[in-house]
Assembly symmetry: D2
Homo-oligomer: 480 residues x 4
């Protein structure tokens, strides 16, 4: 669990119905399945005979989409939906909520996106110099403007999308709903997943297969890096002009932490990949221990794999309280000590008097990890060996993951594992190697980006940094 | 009261503090005072050292601005606020809520507006052809884009605003907040009011003087038609390039119905104007009656004037229930008969056995008026003479008032007053003449628009009609 | 308006349907009409074939009864409803919300009440010594226990109610709903109103006739002091055993302030009574003035009467903001000066340069009155003469009105009208005489209680004071 | 998971602070830890120097206790809290919410309870004949009345509690807060758990140890069956008069399903007991299978135990969606097929091509179990063997568990395991034996009740059934 986690930016879903499917309900249930990809804001846009309506707001799907809101959205034959986690704390979740609905000279359009552009600043400046105004700080508004600009010069929305891909750099898995078409595009690097499903005669696009499962759709295939898929009443077709134009660069953290364990991402089952990460940890270093436990949620998959590989029995280490919702009142300073324990209580019988291997998916700042180790010791663990299914974060991510400042990263503060163990109060600490983490997704059809671990990026980082520039402009304001 | 009333589009408020004034609170209280100008959505934007934050949503000020929302807005030295009633029922109140906050190449900006552009369609098309996308259907986004486009070519925001006025046609009273300045502009016709107030060393702009009163500010003067006022730390200055370039065309309905009776609009007290309208009605035609009553709220001011002029005693005719709020559950068909009575109950002792003159501010479709007449008869009135402080509506308004389709207007269905009286169940019905209504605001410094009564418009109506065009485009969608 | 007003305790409504009337909707609309009698909590209980369901909570009718709540209450053939203002600030609005629903050995029952028992403490002690526990601090629970105790010894609910009246002392207008009957009882003094209405073949009971009007029921007659009315499928019948056993003692403040002007209480129209109060004030003392204005709401009725009697023209003095609801954020200390003005703004044109008579319905602590006088002077009034339609409060009320401590009453602090005028900032201040106030309700069939003005009570005050005793017990707690 | 689960009635928590502990916050966090014991309503009562305040309502802790509610409760030195699941669907969650706060002749008192009286009907009738009225249908009001009745005749609250135990029959773990004391009592059979904790110098009582953990308290000991513990400023003392007067009868379902796995109930760790239940299932019958999976949540503990005992590998079978909250909109009929899948999605890689042992904690009506089996087959499982950690339910529970009508119980409809397996779509189905289930809680100091499995009850069932009697009385109503 380890709060102060890394955060994914988003999850997307789209459906084009050729049947009598309730597309708004489908989007609603699919967003529940994708909620783990973003808890800050969410939204649904629906297209009914060319007219697009939508609703989005800050909050969880459960809170934003009440019966009344769902009812007011009405019906239609297409819908797209979005869940979002914002990377920049200064951003307003409400202003940046998606799908974005816009009108332009040739019609109207809804758009939602998962990813991060590396040329945001350049594109924005170019558009602004043409007189475009912006109402959010997100990529979606940039992508919409670029697509619309191309649409002015081209004969169809799909051509405009393909042309826009020449301008967009970085990571993007984007859905676009025009009055008659549902379009999905995935950047040529393939940073983030996007898959195709089918239910009856209708097609579905989603960030993860678990969204397909939730509405009873079957998996068809993944959208290829660089591919544009167009769904309309004729069915599904594909434009592959941008395929194979860039090296593959799927974010490996989708397997380690972001995606849901029951999803299959680009051919590889997420749960299995996590279990394999656990197995690699067991292979890397032998520990004399009595029990292996996982920190919920994703540490559990890995702990099962570690147990199988090492022969050390798997045990249920923690009870995670599932009732703590959005309005939970955070403990005050005085109660802070119990903060972790309210959410995550060790099961004493599993660890008391035992040497424990504790598997977590990542260590970012280290504070939560240290508290969990302390809980285990208080519960009677004689030894606590922390093993982590991701290599140490040492470098920023420019492609959609919210890695804190480098100076806050514990891996940058403690190079020596022994000192780190001491800091965490653990008997030892170990990380999966970069080499191994790149092998966990066995059947995955794509190669990985591991820039946050190595500092070597397959796709080039931004020249101008987005946040810095805009934060500065906004705080300084206009001079005259 | 007469539901199915005409609706104003908006009210605006802005404050630039050179003192320790809590600008968000000021906007909050001022919007309460302006709430009658729009109950569909509202919003506040605040500028703190060049950084602009805002919140707006569908709903009344009371519902949208909770303690938490107010707290999250924080403080600052400038704020603008807005209340809105949307003219087109298909428009989303949420998407069109203002102030609009945008960023552009030279900074950021918040904007809110009261009025209606007559060249919306032309401006929008011009902008769209440049690649601009729109997220709302309101004038504010157009005005913002036009101002920003000018800002790219000019050295300051105030110059940009003046240049923009060359492009904007129709009615607009607009507030713009840049990182360092609060700017107000009023269209050269002066369709809708905008006034300047002062509190301590700080300046305030508002649609009506009642907003000044509510925060303890004193009235300074009205913004002139065509004037641009700039408020910053140097104080208030003015650009008058566009003044006196067009004939004055203040909406007379501001006096008859829109404005609050305690406001003074362009030099004339609204309550007095309404009382004078009542007096004109008494002069126009003598009625033998026992009591004069007013339909709340604005009929009451006029009834007092009618009583004074005619010598017939003024009486309290109705009790208006003040507890029926936004969430009031409308009676079902079965209870429909009591619908009016729940809100407006006759005081029997005032009317029983009496010949009654009932003053209302307008008759639009006539259904509510007929119900009220019936209530009076049931309460024992022996005669009911309906007198109306506005001439019959017969023509559309293109400048910010939501007049229904001509075919729905009762004045277009019943030309003959006797037939109209019969339709309403009244003994007689009479309207103020156009000649007289133009004289009710005695000290008003401006001339009036009375196009909705006469069909003769001082400012030319739109060439392309906004709603039709956009409704059609949206419903047909994009062809390819 | 004058905040820091006196408060009534409650309003009640009941309906027994022999038709297809939606009894829950009827209660809902009737409570809106009675909302002025209590804004702290409200509730509705419905009886469907002997099964009683109910919902009540702190808040206005508008807030408590959402569509979902109304829907969950379902239908039935009887309903009672209640609005409440609590007298003791330490009381929980939620715990004391009514109707109270109880089950007992012979069935179930819902009960709601308007009034105040003078032997609360004695009855409570007697019941407690029998082992009864209490969950509220209100009279309703006592009355319910007394009725149920009698029900154990008698053959019917109506006999039990009559027996209970032998035990209850003080003021009570009570509705009781048993599985098959709707019963109303009014204390033998007749302190508070209770009337009977009819709609189709169904009977209705309500605190005021305005509730009948709101649902389209016609007035039948008032419940007599001491009368018990029983409504069931046989129709309405009456038990008059307790009638004429005590001197009449109707609260005169029902006419001055509590009741709605469109109601007729015990034969006398409230609006007319207020107008008459104004007329008496004009007769008592001649003032050279230019305009008479009323402080909304009830000062307006009286000002019209004053104007008629004195010949001084009536004017609209204030605009009262109708949008300030329950969640309105009170101004902080810094904005306090504008607190009154946000709610009540003088109409300058009415008072500027004029000698003003300002009619208010009561002066309790005097602070709000002083602020209003100051607003008028700032608006240009050259003289302000305050006239009050109630005599000075000098004594406590034990029968259902929340008069503050005697030391806080401004009338006890300033005996001399000149000193009081000085304190209020007025040129003069005058009160209606006790003799006159007892004559305002011309056709009223009952005599009045005027104990709060004179200290002479028709019904004897409590021997043991309720609040003191219980406050003390609760704070000291149990010794062992 | 298996919806249509059995339901526990309640969880209780109490704290007496001798330190500077924030007792309301403590209750809030403790109720989160106990939320699994009741999700229908919740409440907290706080005692501040003898004055008791409280708030309770229908809903989860998260929804009922907002910041404002917590703030309004204020502080104090004692608090008790409660979470509740109502057994009878006709009961109102709001009316039955606890703690109950009452006042009586010798003071005031708050009370909350977990359990079910078997002589409810007799006690209620006895009290009603004395004139007591009831506002709820719950045991708590009965217990409060019985205690208060005894308090009238005894010198202290603790004596009254002990005397009351002579009258109360059945299951109850009750907390009582008087102005100066916190008292806990557990019925002599010990049906439901109640434990004592300590934090600094302050004592705590709770249904389960997980509540102690959540606030950083340490476990002291369990309250003995029949014991009364009194906590006041002198510390903790105990009255054991009723101890060992009845055979022990702890509900075994606390271990199988109700309690949280990290709790230790009467000496036995719940997680271990579940794992042991899994081990017994493995011993009872050998299955040739490839993987053992558990249905979340409590099937997981058992699956780990089954895997260890059988040598078949443990696998993660399902992803349970943790975001589906109270306001989740249930799928309509058309989407019903996906209803289970939205909440519980199989992890295909775990089960595809495998023979699966699926462990669930109970089968009540069988519908959900059948759907889960179908999901596993669709995910590719070649065989599905259902094993259940509770014996078949065949008989009603009278002591606090909500077992459906016998005719709805699948175990009563399919005696033959083969037929049951066919009904569920499974290859086989097996239950733990009664003999074994009584051995799962190895170190438990008490003996068990297994009446719902065997029909043999240690404590005698009610003579008069509660619900039937009251439902009938309420629907028939009173005759005269």
């Amino acid at each position: 669990m380890t709060s102060n986690k890394l955060h994914e930016e988003c999850g997307v879903f789209g459906i084009y119905s050729n049947d009598d499917i309730d597309v708004v309900s489908s989007a609603y249930y699919a967003l529940f399945a994708l909620q783990h990809r973003g808890q800050e804001s969410c939204g649904i846009a629906v297209c009914d005979d060319g007219v697009i309506k939508g609703f989005n707001d800050a909050g969880l799907v459960n809170d934003v989409f009440t019966k009344d809101v769902i009812k007011n959205l009405g019906g239609g034959n297409m819908a797209i939906g979005h869940v979002r986690y914002g990377m920049n704390k200064d951003e307003s979740p409400r202003r940046n909520a998606q799908p974005l609905i816009v009108t332009h000279i040739k019609g109207n359009m809804a758009l939602c996106n998962n990813g991060m552009l590396t040329n945001y600043a350049e594109l924005r400046e170019e558009l602004e110099l043409k007189g475009v105004i912006f109402r959010s700080t997100g990529d979606a508004e940039i992508i919409a403007s670029v697509v619309v600009a191309e649409r002015l010069r081209t004969g169809s929305i799909q051509t405009a999308v393909c042309e826009a891909m020449n301008k967009l750099k970085g990571a993007y898995s984007t859905l676009i709903m025009s009055p008659k078409k549902l379009i999905g595009m995935r950047d040529p690097y393939g940073f983030h997943p996007l898959c195709i499903g089918k239910i009856k005669n209708s097609f579905v696009l989603a960030s993860e297969t678990c969204a397909l499962d939730s509405i009873g759709a079957t998996f068809v295939r993944d959208v290829e890096p660089g591919e544009v898929v167009i769904i309309d009443k004729e069915g599904l077709r594909s434009i592959t002009t941008h395929c194979n134009t860039k090296p593959q660069s799927l974010c490996v953290f989708e397997f380690v932490y972001f995606a849901r364990p029951d999803s299959v991402v680009d051919g590889s089952c997420v749960h299995e990949a996590r279990a394999r990460a656990g197995a690699f940890l067991a292979q890397q270093e032998k520990i004399d221990a009595d029990v292996v436990i996982g920190v919920p949620d994703s540490g559990i998959d890995a702990a099962i794999g570690y147990a199988r590989e090492s022969g050390i029995p798997y045990g249920l280490g923690f009870l995670k309280n599932k009732y703590i919702g959005r309005t939970f009142i955070q403990p005050t300073q005085a109660d802070r000590e119990n903060k972790v324990r309210i959410k995550l209580n060790p099961i004493a019988s599993t660890v008391a008097g035992k040497r424990v291997v504790m598997i977590d998916d990542s260590i970012v700042r280290g504070t939560t990890c240290a508290r969990i180790v302390r809980l285990l010791r208080n519960a009677g663990a004689t030894e606590v060996h922390v093993r982590v299914t991701a290599p140490p974060f040492k470098h920023p991510c420019y492609f959609g993951t919210d890695v804190p400042k480098q100076s806050e990263l514990i891996a940058n503060r403690f190079e020596d594992p022994k000192e780190l163990a001491k800091e965490l109060g653990a008997d030892s600490v170990g990380f999966i190697t970069v080499e191994n983490v790149l092998k966990i997704a066995k059947d995955c059809k794509l190669n990985f980006c591991s820039g946050c671990f190595t500092g070597e990026y397959i796709c080039e980082p931004p020249v101008k940094e987005k946040e810095h520039k805009y934060a500065k402009k906004i705080s300084e304001g206009e001079k005259k």
